[in-house]
């Protein structure tokens, strides 16, 4: 029963949502909106669970692992300051919460994101190493594509631009669409398996 009831719920709700896609009636739209709202409600109700998990894990680290203590304390203090700042009713552009978000949170996020530039360089170095003929094709293609942003003299610039457009619009687009079609069919097939109860791995196992 522990597995049968969830599978039954998944089957009934899955079937209803599939049928809903084909029904434009206002009742069908209401059902879809209501179901999506319910997902948001579940997410909000689960938030205390996430906060409890975060705080529990951080406090344990702070108490037991000296290497982690500093970072754990920063996490706890950061969480408390942000939470208290958001308890205040003023939510204008000059509020403490907004300032913390704009001048602490966003710069930190931008710093993490900016690391992507270095990682792209190191990943490109590994990807472009000529080990096989496929890697050679990749290297040559990437070289041609990157050459487009270099100010070459005419007529090389026009030739290269046309070649790059062809590479992006034909072989590149064809492979992307092949993957997208595969993903679409895979998602439909996988959804059918979930609705029919064939796929139960997301509930912890097949038994």
């Amino acid at each position: 029963m522990k597995k049968q009831i969830p599978i039954l719920i998944v089957f009934v709700t899955g079937l209803i949502m599939v049928l809903q896609f084909f029904v434009p009636h206002a009742a069908s739209e209401f059902l879809f909106t209501y179901a999506n709202d319910f997902v948001i409600v579940i997410g909000i109700l689960a938030l205390p669970l996430g906060i409890f998990s975060l705080m529990r894990g951080t406090v344990i680290k702070a108490r037991k692992d000296p290497r982690e203590r500093f970072y754990a304390i920063v996490t706890i203090v950061g969480f408390l300051v942000m939470a208290i700042a958001n308890f205040r009713r003023d939510s204008g552009p000059d509020s403490l919460a907004q300032n913390l978000f704009s001048y602490v949170m966003i710069p930190c996020q931008a710093t993490i994101f900016s690391m992507l530039a270095f990682y792209i360089a190191s990943a490109a170095y590994r990807a472009f190493r000529v080990r096989t003929w496929l890697a050679t094709v990749l290297l040559v293609t990437a070289f041609i594509v990157m050459l487009r942003i270099v100010p070459l003299p005419e007529p090389f610039s026009s030739w290269n631009s046309s070649l790059v457009q062809w590479i992006l619009a034909v072989p590149n687009m064809a492979s992307k669409r092949a993957i997208i079609i595969g993903v679409g069919l895979g998602a439909i097939s996988y959804s059918m398996k979930i609705i029919l109860g064939i796929e139960r791995g997301y509930m912890g196992g097949d038994k």
């Binding site: 434009p24 996020q109 990682y119 590994r126 959804s191 796929e199």
Partner: protein
Amino acid sequence: MIRAWDAAARALRAPGRRRKAGFVLQRLLSLAPLLIALSHPIAAIAQDSTLVVAPLLSPPTGLRVGDSPDDNGHGVLARWSVAPDDAELLVYEIWRGPSPTAPDSVWFQVGSAPRGSEHFVYFDEDASAQGQPNPAFVASGEPIHLRVRGRSGDGRLTAWSGAATGVGKGNWFHRGKTNILVAVLLFGGAVAWFINSARRGKELYIRPIPGLGAVDEAIGRATEMGTPILYVLGTGTAGDVATIAGYTILSRVARRTAEYQTPILVPVNDPVMLAMGQEVVKEAYTQAGRPEVYRADNISYVSAMQFPYVAAVNGIMRREKPATCFYMGIFHAESLLLAETGSGTGAIQISGTDQVSQIPFFVAATDYTLIGEELYAASAYLSRAPAQLGPLKAQDYAKLAIILIIIAGILALTLAHWDGILRLVRTPV
């Protein structure tokens, strides 16, 4: 009129008469409507401030208003026959009124259709606009009164068509999605057929997927090195198909790690995913007969935001030095940030995502990548259960059918200039 303009000009030019200029201009402005009427011999000023043409052009005829198909009941379809003077017109204006016999002053325009048009879908599902009741709202089941007239480029109008009344009703099937329904039914039939074939004992071939073949090797490596396994479910939500596929692989990986007693760390970015992840791993440990090894703290919530999540997971990688990293689910810009950090720690890495834009990053930075649909094939590939293999085989045949449709479409368009196949596969926006 020319004398009046000359008088005004003289008044403005003469130094002694400048004080009278304002008076003359005021008189001229008061005569403006008359001057406009004189310069357009066939026009007169209408009550609704538009230029009414006299004589009026012939109106569109045979106006009928009925339910608009394939909608939620907040639309009506107006049909008419084009006006005899259609060639002289620019647009047809569709006006709405409270009743067919209501005075002109209470009718208002709700849309327009280019000349030559013989129908118009009037759709408005917003009961209020900017906090006020929306007069253009089409209430389902209530009569809507419309009438039509034509307008030429130079402002001439036709007479009104007769008013017609129709009622919008919610429809129970979208006819534009018939092709999708047929495709889904065919695909569902194929899935059932292949599941049945596999259950009867027919061998179904599945091509080798190196990324899935390396799962056991990767878990074994972590066990030998005595370091944990890191399993990242991406930044999707628990409702995404790719995330659910990630949970399926997590279940199998967790069962192996339970058998080998290797710790598995699962940092997640969503509280719902946390609950699911804990349940999946706990169940896998129970099935492996090692429930006492399960540690709920190893499946932890770190942050709902993308880059704080990346920072937390990268920190775990740097500190815990996992021997094996799995990335299964939906990834965005964080894919390379995670994979490169994992690569820097020397971990063997297996990734899988259905996000086309992130696949190249994973291919470049991880050892094995499940490309697109391979992520969904994982459970069938690892279990080899007939019920799992059937849909996979149906998927292959669906791909073959799509390839044939593409080839047929190319040939039909190139050789016969026939776009029927395009109409066949078109879906409503």
